[in-house]
Symmetry: C2
Subunit: 537 residues, 2 copies
């Protein structure tokens, strides 16, 4: 292997490449599986595997030792992504992309159900467009990638590679919208966007990322507000019910509002290191872009008005949120509803004459589960031992493992292991292969895991939010790495001071608010709302 010619990376990334543990791990010495491998599994490597010598998945840095190293290790070991050749870019590998596809599949249906159509806008935007909306240009101009040469010639006007599409959307909306009959206009696009970020992190903040961006135009402010709220609700529901991430939905402070929006709604998620992740946003844009681009309509009374708009987005960042919410030292842990593979079946046999019967049973179980709509995969490779496979699919976060060995075949039963409950506790022996029993059992386990991941995340979240009534208390909570929640009505300057002194920002004014007027913990003035402060990604 050492003689393989390897071309060096041509642009050195600002960070080291993901530690390439997997190839090494493939050749590493055997070792026991994490968790409690069944007696059969412990002993029974198929003959061919012996010749490979490999039995151990590349280990990852323990979460408690170094959360960031753990995160990038998991991404490498579970083969979710890799660094691209250009600094800050990311290649999304098939398994990571399959998680993104699961997110897309759910949201795409919801977007259509709520009346939106997909379409596609060009990614090249004339530079002058970006300058039209004052706060938009201020927010985005430091992050732009510019095309200046096309077809061998210097361009007359520089082109912006879209960092977001409000400007070009409004340019087109202005052409398409004439009358109130053309409203509401509700569209979405799945696209790549580019932001020249200085500090990058796979999935969380990359030079280029994938997202969906919804854009809508309405006849009234009320309709736009309702739409912005509806979409943050869609995101919230997705996060809770599918990703098992108990996000806190709320409104951004003025300081943190999207460049060009009147109001930004957000869902904020607590990662395993207690830092906050802004996991999705929905903006009420008011008439900011319609005024900048002259997007007008004739209302029912013949009056010309500017349209009221929204935009909203969720990106591949959400995949990072899933990793950092549920993962543990054994690797990724996927909520069943978004897991590309929900059940992995590992056949186990000692002697050659056992093989046929085991594989026949495996095949039958796979068919039964597949027909029941469960996403199931069999790994009957003879190049790997069962122990290696156990670790490998734990690393990949597959919710349920089924082992089938010769004794199981005799008993017409299988062994079922939960990814979220390590060791013996998560293991059930003698689960009947009878379709009516097996299917219900597995479906039940998948539901249990889904619910259990959510509850665990809720408990973690709630035990790390501190209610504060003074700036001192906030400082203490933030210093402990926790979120601080307290009444707030102070100035933007005070908010920036908190950021400077503690690195925490207002994540949101949560929708869920205690009743009554409180006292701002900073100024002592009356405060209508509590805000949540936290360090964030």
């Amino acid at each position: 292997m050492a003689s393989l010619l390897r071309l060096p990376s041509l642009l050195s990334p600002s960070k080291p490449l993901l530690r390439r543990r997997l190839p090494a791990a493939r050749l590493a010495a055997p070792a026991a599986s994490r968790g409690q491998a069944s007696a059969a599994a412990g002993a029974a490597a198929p003959a061919a595997a012996e010749t490979r010598g490999g039995d151990r998945e590349g280990q990852v840095t323990p979460r408690s030792v170094d959360f960031n190293a753990w995160y990038t290790d998991v991404i490498a070991a579970a083969e979710l992504a890799d660094y691209g050749p250009v600094r800050g870019t990311m290649v999304i590998r098939p398994y990571g992309y399959a998680i993104w596809e699961a997110i897309q599949d759910y949201l795409n249906v919801k977007f259509k159900e709520t009346g939106h159509s997909n379409m596609y806008f060009p990614q090249f935007i004339p530079y002058s467009f970006i300058e039209k909306e004052a706060s938009h240009v201020e927010g985005f101009s430091p992050e732009l990638a510019l095309v200046t040469i096309g077809g061998g010639k210097e361009l007359e006007e520089k082109l912006v590679v879209r960092p977001t599409s409000e400007t070009i959307v409004n340019h087109m909306f202005t052409k398409w919208i004439q009358s109130y009959r053309d409203l509401p206009l509700m569209i979405n696009q799945w696209a790549n966007v580019t932001r020249w970020e200085m500090r990058t992190k796979p999935f969380i903040r990359t030079l280029e990322f994938l997202w969906q961006e919804g854009h809508t135009a309405h006849a009234t402010l009320e309709e736009a507000e309702k739409e912005a709220m509806q979409m943050i609700d869609v995101y919230t529901k997705f996060a809770y019910e599918h990703a098992a991430i108990p996000v806190i939905p709320g409104r951004k402070s003025r300081v943190e509002t999207f460049a060009g929006a009147n109001r930004t709604y957000t869902i904020e998620a607590m990662m395993g290191d207690k830092k906050a992740l802004q996991a999705g946003t929905s903006h009420n844009l008011g008439q900011n872009f319609s005024r900048a681009f002259g997007t007008q309509f004739m209302d029912e009374n013949g009056q010309i008005e500017h349209v009221w708009q929204t935009s909203w987005a969720i990106s591949t960042r959400f995949v990072g949120g899933i990793i950092m919410t549920h993962g543990d030292d054994a690797g990724l842990m996927l909520p069943p509803r978004i897991a590309p593979i929900q059940v992995i079946i590992v056949p186990i046999w000692k002697k050659g004459d056992e093989k046929a019967a085991v594989l026949e049973a495996v095949d039958s179980v796979q068919k039964i589960l597949k027909e029941a709509g469960i996403r199931v995969k069999v790994d009957d490779s003879e190049l790997r031992t069962p122990g290696w496979k156990f670790n490998h699919y734990e690393m990949k976060g597959i919710p349920v493992r089924i082992e089938i060995g010769p004794r199981d075949v005799t008993n017409k039963s299988v062994v079922v292991s939960r990814r979220d409950v390590p060791g013996k506790q998560g293991k059930e022996f003698g689960v009947s292969m009878d379709p009516s029993i097996l299917v219900n059992h597995i479906k039940g386990r998948l539901e249990d895991i889904q619910e259990s991941l959510l509850q665990k995340a809720i408990t973690f979240r709630d035990s790390n939010i501190v209610d504060v009534s003074s700036y001192g208390e906030l400082k203490e909570a933030i210093a402990e790495g926790k979120w601080a929640r307290g009444p707030w009505s102070a100035s933007d300057a005070d908010e920036l001071k908190v950021k400077e002194e503690t690195s925490a920002t207002i994540r949101c004014y949560p929708f869920e608010q205690p009743e009554g007027t409180k006292k701002c913990f900073m100024t002592g003035n009356p405060a209508e709302e509590v805000a949540i402060f936290a360090k964030s990604y």
Copy 2:
């Protein structure tokens, strides 16, 4: 309306914007529907529509008068796409995008069935990558868009906005592939690509377009060849069975082979003006990119070898192919299998007291069809007359229209019209609303239309291919706008001479070949194969 403030386009496109007929048409005077509107439809505009005054869809230039004008008119009137603000870019509107989604839905399943996984590569490629494969850089360098500024700073190395991804794919494959166990590596991505084209045309050739690009690496030449052939077969099957386009699959000549490939397979479609459209390609890349990027593996005997590769793509250009294969003077005509809406239901009533019963029947018919898996839409808007709707949905190419008026309600029947058969001939009265009859009837009609569109296209294609046995005959055929098919074993220089003198190129050596050795129509030398020459898009 004239008082609406409109911002001028900030970059003038090199071509005029699509003729904006629709907004004008909305306010145009009533006119008779194309085709034979039912008696009820002719008379019965809902009351509200009278106040709109509008009844006529924007007409398009007749196909026979100016095919190119017809094409862009249909794109505008059927709301498939619009020009973007940057020269040569295109906005794909919801209806056009829905056709692309239908293409994606079919191919995505086929790609996965044939063992490919989706993933995503960054779109920014270091300029030096493009230079690594000699013929690749020669082919693509004139068409590149280059990012030279990022985050406000001049970049040390210019970045190419991907025109195709072979180079970056190989850079990553080199990291991931070590051993024969890592092969075959078979991936696909759905992405946007950029080629700085000088002469652009919506869908057919745009600065930025959407496509899928498959990339695979194999241990042997034979496997790569088999894969390249498999994928051109997938495309061929899709074209015939779903898009009803009788493409001719074959091999490209050396001159027309992809920059960097050893062999290019293609599917060539005859458009309504008889010009050829290259509708999809599959390349056997040999070891060209693996040598340039050092993509090697250790084979079963411990030898280090370069991998053998393929790549293959279909793009939004295919949407243009669908328009230009099936459309007529009334607009778009969509094959039922890829039509976003297969059946449009238009309710018709004269008097207010008829409305409730008609809408109830419409609702019930819609439910019946939807439950049967038919993509159905109801247009019960009172802002438009039935006649307007007939034209509108003919323009949109919806395969089947169902009309339901008061008399139909009484008779428990509906009127069914085929988009592909104009006038009375395509119209059936008294089709029973009984679910068991109606569903079978509509499904049968959709199948008839699918088959009929294909047969019509085959007949058109075959009547416009001329077998030639001399250069003179070729010139004659090409001058008539037809395709010329003849034995060919002449040089690349002769091929370029044909292009120069007739504007025709070798579209392919079709897979289907007459038996025996023939005489090259250019040189008189023995020729193993016939080639097809045609003018192309």
